[in-house]
């Protein structure tokens, strides 16, 4: 019973650990102006030209010495990537063509991944693209929960909520990608709605809910208690209705709150630098969060471009990063450090100097609240399973 339990066996991403994720920021345009969105410079002028995309694919496939991963995920992001579905389609075709021509190991060992707000999901061209690439595609639709919760954050420029325009496409998406999950971002205002939102998403048929609190320094006194309360209520509901068997919520993990060994558990949390993001101009970044439109205070960190290639010196600090070297003393001594996450882009943006080696601890209290909720959930879960 327990071995099949979805909550005990979180879904493993495709090609985990062996894959290079390459993110094409195909446009900075989006129909929405989500309040928590870290892309601060949305506009309808900065879209990728196909020639730039071609040059990028050529570079990536011709430099195996720098990109030696077994497999690749070409990720399309924005703004809203489905606004550029023709371009995305052409890029995917070109990748397949060139990787086949070069007899590249990535041919046949690739996935295309799109994260969308879902508004254009049923568009004819989008559906054609999905049919064409069905065996190699993952699509995530971002929906934040109940209509109330979703419409609080995910709004059009005129302030209207987008829930109705997204939710109408969920059945089609679920039919085409029954195992697909969604990503939920929790900001301050969302805390009171966590339980009902997760349950709502499960009710829509989305069995995998990956959620995290925002990494920015927004959390205030009392937020942690409220957060813990919501998670405990969710835990009670999951236990009472045995939802853990067929549903997954990333807030609950047995690894959360365990002490970490400075040597064994010294990996960097974030994949910045191991992945690569390319903006509309063909400029390379360690990840999307290091692009100019995602930084509030700091200059973008550029790794190179599709014309001149990757500057390996700029990549070295990212690949050398580990947990202990960037963490303050309080994190190193923390007895419940397991599962505490960070975002390298936010670390950099919030750091006191221009470095990626200063970990932001803005989510400290929220993590500890999550630990308490996990400490509440797991003994009850195991007791319930054992009694069975």
């Amino acid at each position: 019973m327990a071995t099949d339990c979805k909550q005990l066996n979180p879904p493993v991403p495709w090609g985990e650990g062996k894959t290079k994720t390459i993110t094409f920021v195909v446009t900075q345009d989006c129909q929405l102006r989500c309040k928590y969105c870290y892309v601060v410079g949305k506009n309808d002028t900065c879209s990728m030209d196909f020639q730039i995309a071609k040059k990028t694919i050529d570079y990536l496939l011709e430099h195996r010495e720098l990109l030696d991963n077994e497999s690749v995920v070409l990720e399309f992001i924005g703004g809203e990537p489905l606004l550029e579905i023709d371009l995305v389609d052409k890029i995917c075709d070109y990748f397949k063509f060139v990787s086949f021509k070069l007899d590249h190991p990535w041919f046949g060992n690739y996935r295309f991944s799109l994260t969308t707000n879902g508004i254009l999901y049923d568009n004819k061209k989008v559906q054609q693209f999905i049919r064409k690439n069905k065996a190699h595609i993952s699509i995530g639709i971002t929906i934040d929960g109940t209509k109330k919760k979703h419409d609080m954050q995910r709004v059009y420029p005129d302030g209207r909520g987008s829930y109705d325009d997204v939710v109408r496409n969920i059945p089609l998406w679920q039919k085409q990608f029954p195992d697909a999950g969604t990503k939920v971002t929790i900001s301050r205002e969302d805390i009171p709605y966590i339980k009902e939102s997760v349950l709502h998403l499960w009710g829509l048929g989305i069995k995998e809910v990956n959620a995290n609190v925002v990494f920015e320094d927004v959390w205030q006194k009392g937020d942690d208690a409220l957060f813990e309360g919501q998670l405990k209520q969710l835990a009670d509901y999951m236990l009472e209705n045995k939802l853990y068997n067929n549903h997954f919520c990333s807030f609950f993990s047995e690894l959360v709150g365990k002490p970490l060994d400075p040597i064994q558990d010294n990996q960097n949390w974030c994949g910045a630098g191991k992945m690569l993001a390319i903006d509309y101009a063909g400029t390379f970044y360690p990840c999307l969060r290091f692009t100019p439109s995602c930084l509030r205070r700091k200059k973008a960190i550029v790794l190179g471009n599709c014309h001149e290639g990757i500057n390996v010196n700029k990549l070295r600090p990212f690949l050398a990063l580990n947990r202990t070297v960037q963490s303050p003393e309080k994190c190193l001594k923390c007895e419940v450090a397991g599962g505490c996450a960070w975002c390298q882009g936010e670390n950099y943006d919030a750091a006191d100097s221009d470095t990626i080696y200063q970990r932001s601890t803005s989510i400290c209290l929220m993590h500890k609240a999550r630990v308490r909720a996990n400490n509440y959930f797991w003994p009850r879960f195991h007791s319930q399973i054992d009694n069975k």
Binding site: V312, V325, A351, S353
Partner: protein
């Protein structure tokens, strides 16, 4: 073992408990003595630190018990400046083309100087710093060998490291091996001379890097503090001033234990230049691949040198070093 070796006062044999050193840039046009380039250097012009600032700097150094190393340009100092300098024990770092010969100064030979015929023939100093352009690396041995008998220590400092490619580093290694052979001959002739990139590693058992910002820092003509002169000349913000302002966030990252790459390395002699780190990788704690490969070419050539020299364990007259302590005690008594 190694004396007058800026900016590395803790080089082989010295310890971390040594007095803190401060590099004082006396002249806006002072020539570089290290990897960095002073964009104003070599123009023959001069713009000295103001006398009032110099006075304050020296008072500060005396108060803090810091040992200054004064960086000279090509101009001679007015008597009033010399008077200030005489107030404190110091070291002078002077370009070879400077009109005055100061005793016990460290002489810097810049690319535009070693290329002038005859300049190298007349040099004599305890410590020489030779700054080499990338385009001259292929003839490094030819430049270095004739000056090995003109100093007790030669610091070779490569300029334009950021432009080095694998082939340049291979060339450098080849030249180091040639210099190693010359050094081995020197030792056979009982002539003791150190060359930083070849002999330092032989005597080190732990990392001994430049340590800018830790064991020394720079004071610029504006009276403000910088991690090292390179940071001043590249327009980086200052890290403090004489009045007590302290603006050096994340300075702990200069410490080797916060460098995931350097902390596992055994090229103990490597300069680990934090300025080049910042310039090339954007992080002070992360070396460029060029810096690492150059340090390892030096490490390998040091091994080659070691294989050529007879470095015996000396014969001794005791079997218990307690005897030495007793004898020392006796001689005191």
């Amino acid at each position: 073992m190694i004396m007058h070796n800026p900016p590395n006062p803790t080089a082989a044999g010295a310890s971390q408990t040594d007095k803190k050193h401060v590099l004082v840039i006396l002249d806006e046009y002072a020539s570089s003595f290290c990897h960095y380039v002073n964009p104003k250097g070599g123009s023959g012009q001069s713009q000295l630190i103001s006398h009032s600032t110099l006075k304050k700097v020296i008072e500060f150094l005396k108060f803090k018990y810091y040992t200054p190393q004064f960086l000279f340009g090509n101009a001679c100092l007015p008597d009033s400046y010399e008077l200030e300098l005489s107030q404190i024990e110091h070291v002078r770092i002077v370009p070879v083309s400077h009109p005055k010969a100061y005793p016990n100064s460290i002489i810097v030979i810049n690319p535009d100087e070693y290329r002038v015929p005859g300049v190298l023939g007349n040099i004599s100093a305890e410590v020489l710093i030779l700054r080499i352009l990338k385009q001259d690396v292929a003839r490094l041995a030819e430049i270095v060998t004739p000056i090995l008998d003109k100093c007790k220590r030669l610091n070779i400092s490569l300029v334009e490291i950021e432009d080095y490619n694998d082939e340049d580093i291979r060339q450098y290694r080849k030249q180091l091996d040639l210099i190693s052979k010359s050094l081995a001959n020197c030792y056979k002739e009982k002539q003791a001379v150190e060359v930083n990139c070849l002999t330092d590693r032989l005597m080190l058992r732990q990392m001994n890097n430049c340590n800018a910002g830790i064991t020394h820092f720079a004071i610029a003509p504006d009276g403000r503090f910088y991690t090292c002169p390179a940071f001043y000349y590249c327009g980086d913000s200052s890290i403090g001033d004489i009045e007590g302002e302290d603006n050096f966030p994340n300075s702990h990252l200069l410490d080797i234990k916060y460098s995931p790459i350097c902390s596992v390395c055994d090229a103990f002699h490597c300069k680990r230049c934090v300025f080049l780190n910042k310039k090339l990788t954007l992080e002070v704690n992360t070396p460029s691949w060029q810096q690492c490969k150059i340090a390892h070419a030096e490490r390998d050539s040091s091994r080659f040198l070691l294989s050529m020299i007879d470095w015996p364990i000396p014969e001794i007259t005791y079997d218990d070093p307690f005897i030495l302590v007793k004898e020392k005690d006796k001689s005191k008594g």
